[in-house]
């Protein structure tokens, strides 16, 4: 099942989509802020992953991968992981904020 890993990631996006659609977390709506968050995270953790793969800490079963490999022997699914999971994290935090508006996160506009 070469789509296995990809399907798990797709499941994460599908599973959290209701937060954006029905709860109106406005995370995808703020795509520029999301992209600015994801870029350094995916780069840092992607490099960590490359180092770990080279050190032999973990390896992937190719039978579950689509077969697209990035420089550093990084399966494309791993890079997608570091884009998908952080997106889910942001969606979760914004959903908590919507349900508990009095729990401040720290980015609320300052009153003047």
């Amino acid at each position: 099942m070469r789509l296995a890993y990809l399907l798990i990631l797709a499941g994460c996006l599908v599973g959290t989509a209701p937060l954006e659609i029905f709860l109106h977390t406005r995370v995808y709506a703020r795509w520029l802020r999301l992209a600015a968050t994801l870029a350094p995270i995916a780069l840092t953790f992607g490099l960590w992953d490359v180092a770990a793969i080279h050190a032999g800490w973990w390896h992937f079963d190719r039978r579950y991968l689509v077969g697209l490999t990035l420089p550093g022997r990084l399966p494309v699914e791993e890079l997608l992981f570091f884009l998908v999971i952080p997106t889910c994290a942001v969606l979760t935090l914004e959903a908590v904020r919507l349900r508990r508006p009095d729990w401040l996160i720290g980015d609320e506009p300052t009153r003047r």
Partner: protein, 99 residues
């Protein structure tokens, strides 16, 4: 260096980012811990699938050997570091925009 060392370093670095560098101080906020508790539940499922189906396999020499839902305990630290650094950055960017 093992995955164990790197995972501990990752948590320390994420806390440093949150508390000292970006000063978002999410580790002191109820909203963060609530969101993290929810994420942890789903991490166990996703991680359990990735390791349970053996999509990813770990070298015994790089980990302590203790597992939670098929995955090495180190993954919990790694996941925490990923969540905290991501959310710290997200909040910091929003704080800058709000000013």
């Amino acid at each position: 260096m093992s995955y164990t060392d790197a995972a501990v370093l990752g948590v320390a670095a994420a806390c440093g980012l949150d508390v000292l560098l970006l000063r978002t101080r999410l580790v002191g906020r109820k909203a963060f811990w609530t969101a993290y508790a929810i994420m942890l539940g789903f991490q166990l499922i996703v991680n359990g699938l990735l390791t349970g189906l053996k999509i990813v396999r770990y070298d015994d020499r790089a980990v302590l050997g203790r597992t939670v839902a098929f995955a090495p305990v180190e993954d919990l630290a790694f996941g925490f570091a990923l969540a905290l650094s991501t959310l710290s950055l997200w909040v910091w960017l929003g704080r800058r925009a709000a000013r």
